[in-house]
C-alpha cells in the first residue's frame, strides 16, 4: 500500500482532490490557500505532504492531480521529491502528475538548475511549470492554472481528459523526445 495509485478509489461527487508534495511546508501552505481562493465550480480539496509514501492508516479521497513542488533554492527539496517519485504508480504520469518549480527568478539563490527539473519532467513525460510561489501575483496565476488542470484531471470538464491535456501541453515543448 505504499504506492500511490490514481484509480484505486471511487470519485466523490463534484469533488476534485490535489496532492501537493514538497519539502517546503510554508510554500505548499500558501499555494493551497491560493488555490482555494480561486473561483472554481468543483469542490476543491488540497492535501499537503512533505514526502511519499503517505501514512497508510488514513482514509483519504482519490487523488486526481499530483503536483511535485521543488524549490530551486534548496537541493534538499529536489532530493525529497526524487525519493517520493519511487512511490508513485506509473499511471499517474498519463496526465495526472506535474512538476512545479519555484524560485527561478532569483538566480543567485538557486542551487538547483532549472534544466535539472526540465530533464526530470521529461523523464516522467509530465509537464513542468515555473513560477515564484513567494510572489502573490505569480502564485495566484499558478493557482488558477492548477485549479483548471485539476478539474480536467478529475473529469469535470466535458470533452477534455487528462491525457488529451497532456498531449496538448507537450506539443509546445521541444519535439525530440530522445533529447534527454
Amino acid at each position: 500500500m505504499s504506492v500511490l495509485r490514481p484509480l484505486d478509489k471511487l470519485p466523490g461527487l463534484n469533488t476534485a482532490t490535489v496532492l501537493l508534495v514538497g519539502a517546503d511546508d510554508a510554500l505548499l501552505q500558501r499555494l493551497a490557500d491560493s488555490m482555494l481562493k480561486t473561483d472554481c465550480a468543483s469542490e476543491l480539496r488540497v492535501h499537503l505532504a512533505r514526502s511519499l509514501p503517505l501514512p497508510s492508516n488514513v482514509n483519504r479521497p482519490r487523488v486526481d492531480l499530483l503536483v511535485f513542488v521543488i524549490n530551486l533554492h534548496s537541493k534538499y527539496s529536489l532530493q525529497s521529491v526524487e525519493k517520493s517519485l519511487h512511490h508513485v504508480d506509473a499511471s499517474f504520469f498519463l496526465g495526472k502528475a506535474c512538476f512545479l518549480a519555484t524560485g527561478a527568478g532569483r538566480e543567485n539563490l538557486c542551487s538547483v538548475h532549472r534544466n535539472t527539473i526540465v530533464r526530470l519532467a521529461r523523464t516522467y513525460r509530465s509537464p513542468v511549470l515555473f513560477c515564484d510561489l513567494e510572489v502573490e501575483g505569480s502564485r495566484a496565476a499558478m493557482a488558477q492554472r492548477l485549479a483548471r488542470m485539476l478539474q480536467i484531471s478529475a473529469g469535470h470538464v466535458p470533452g477534455v481528459s487528462a491525457m488529451s491535456l497532456l498531449s496538448l501541453l507537450r506539443s509546445s515543448e521541444s519535439p525530440s523526445l530522445e533529447d534527454l
Binding site: 496532492l19 514538497g22 519539502a23 517546503d24 511546508d25 510554508a26 501552505q29 493551497a32 490557500d33 482555494l36 469542490e43 476543491l44 480539496r45 488540497v46 492535501h47 499537503l48 505532504a49 512533505r50 514526502s51 503517505l54 501514512p55 488514513v58 483519504r60 534548496s74 534538499y76 527539496s77 525529497s80
Partner: protein, 343 residues
C-alpha cells in the same frame, strides 16, 4: 568547641593570604578587638592559625560562626581589582614605552580596558584601540579583534600575569555580540524567559492553528512534522539562541584520486561527515594531480543570527532533523571555529 570545627577554622585560615588576614578577621566580626590585637602577624601561618583556633575556643565558636568565616573569605577573595589594574598597566608599559591604558569598572565585576598601542618609538594610535572586558570572578576575558596582531601575545601575557593565572588559552569563539558570548561562556543561554504570563504562548500557538484550519486543506505528514518539531526543541530548546554571525569549519583530508580509464576527467570524491563534496579537473590534473599533501577545505556559514537560522532549518523543510552535531554543538562546546582532521 568541636574538633571538626577547630580543624575547619584552621584550614580556612591557612587559605587566606597574609596580606588579607586582618581584613578578613575584622570583617568576620567574631573575635574581639582585644583578641585580634594579641595576634602576631609576623609568625608563620600555621602558628597563626593555631592561635586563632585557640581564641575561637575561648569564645566557643559554633559551626555557623565557622561557616561565616568561610563566606567572608570567599567574598574578599584573592582578587583585588586595583592590584590587577596596576599590574596590567605596568606590564604593558614596561614592554612598550608608548601605550595608553584606561579602565572602567562595570557591573557584575566586569573591568573594561581600553588599550591604544604604540611602539618604543611611536606614539600610541588612538584610532585603533583594543578593548578587553575581564570578569574578575571568572577565568574569562573578552577582547575585540585587533588589527595590530603583533600585540596579541603581549596582551595575553599581561592579562595572565595581572590576574594571577598561569596560562591563557584562546577560545575558538567569536561574535559581535558580547552578551551572546557571555551567555555561551557562562552557560546562561538555556533559560526560559516566559515567566510572566504562562498562558500567553499557548494562546499564540492555537491562533496559528486557526489560520490553517480551512477544512479543505489536509496535512498528510502531521506526525512527521511533530517529530521534527520535537527533535528541534530537544536540540535547541525553547529559549532564544545566543547571537553568532559565523560558523567556520576547516577540514583536512588525504586526497583519494579515482580515475576512470574511459573518461578524460579525473574526479576526486571528498566525503566527510558533514558535506559531500566533489572536485573535478581535466586530464592534466591541475591542483588534483599527483597530490601529496592533504586537501584543505574551508566551509563557512554566515547569517545575521546563525543559531536561530539553524534552528529553523528542519521545520522549514530545508534539512533533515536531527542536524549534524557539528552544527548543534556550537553553544554547548563554546566554539564556532572548528578544525577537523579526518583520520
Amino acid at each position: 568547641m568541636d574538633e571538626t570545627i577547630a580543624e575547619f577554622i584552621r584550614r580556612t585560615i591557612l587559605k587566606i593570604p597574609m596580606s588579607e588576614m586582618m581584613t578578613v578577621l575584622e570583617a568576620w566580626n567574631f573575635l574581639s578587638e582585644s583578641q585580634l590585637q594579641t595576634l602576631n602577624l609576623r609568625q608563620r601561618k600555621d602558628s597563626l592559625a593555631q592561635s586563632v583556633v585557640l581564641l575561637c575556643e575561648e569564645k566557643c565558636a559554633s559551626l555557623s560562626d565557622a561557616a561565616l568565616l568561610d563566606i567572608v573569605c570567599e567574598d574578599l577573595d584573592l582578587f583585588d581589582i586595583e592590584q590587577f589594574k596596576s599590574s596590567f598597566k605596568k606590564i604593558l608599559q614596561r614592554a612598550l614605552r608608548n601605550v595608553t591604558v584606561s579602565f572602567r569598572d562595570a557591573e557584575e565585576n566586569a573591568v573594561w580596558i581600553r588599550i591604544a598601542w604604540g611602539t618604543q618609538y611611536t606614539k600610541p594610535n588612538q584610532y585603533k584601540p583594543t578593548y578587553v572586558v575581564y570578569y574578575s570572578h571568572t577565568p574569562y576575558a573578552f577582547t575585540s579583534s585587533s588589527r595590530l596582531k603583533s600585540n596579541i601575545p603581549l596582551l595575553g601575557q599581561a592579562l595572565t600575569v595581572a590576574s594571577k593565572h598561569h596560562q591563557i588559552v584562546k577560545m575558538d569563539l567569536r561574535s559581535r555580540y558580547l552578551d551572546s558570548l557571555k551567555a555561551i561562556v557562562f552557560k546562561q543561554y538555556n533559560q526560559n524567559f516566559e515567566i510572566h504570563n504562562p498562558t500567553a504562548p499557548l494562546q499564540e500557538r492555537s491562533v496559528g492553528l486557526d489560520i490553517n484550519t480551512d477544512s479543505r486543506i489536509i496535512h498528510e505528514n502531521a506526525v512527521e512534522k511533530d517529530k521534527v518539531q520535537r527533535i528541534t526543541q530537544e536540540t535547541f530548546g525553547d529559549y532564544p539562541q545566543p547571537r553568532l554571525e559565523f560558523a567556520q569549519y576547516k577540514f583536512w583530508k588525504a586526497a583519494m584520486l579515482t580515475t576512470t580509464p574511459q573518461t578524460p576527467t579525473q574526479s576526486l570524491q571528498f566525503h566527510n561527515r558533514f558535506l559531500e563534496t566533489k572536485f573535478k579537473s581535466d586530464l592534466n590534473g591541475g591542483i588534483l594531480a599527483d597530490r601529496e599533501e592533504p586537501l584543505r577545505c574551508l566551509i563557512k556559514f554566515s547569517s545575521p543570527h546563525l543559531l536561530e537560522a539553524l534552528k529553523s532549518l528542519a521545520p522549514a523543510g530545508i534539512a533533515d532533523a536531527p542536524l549534524s552535531p557539528l552544527l548543534t554543538c556550537i553553544p554547548s562546546r563554546g566554539m564556532n571555529y572548528f578544525k577537523i582532521r579526518d583520520k
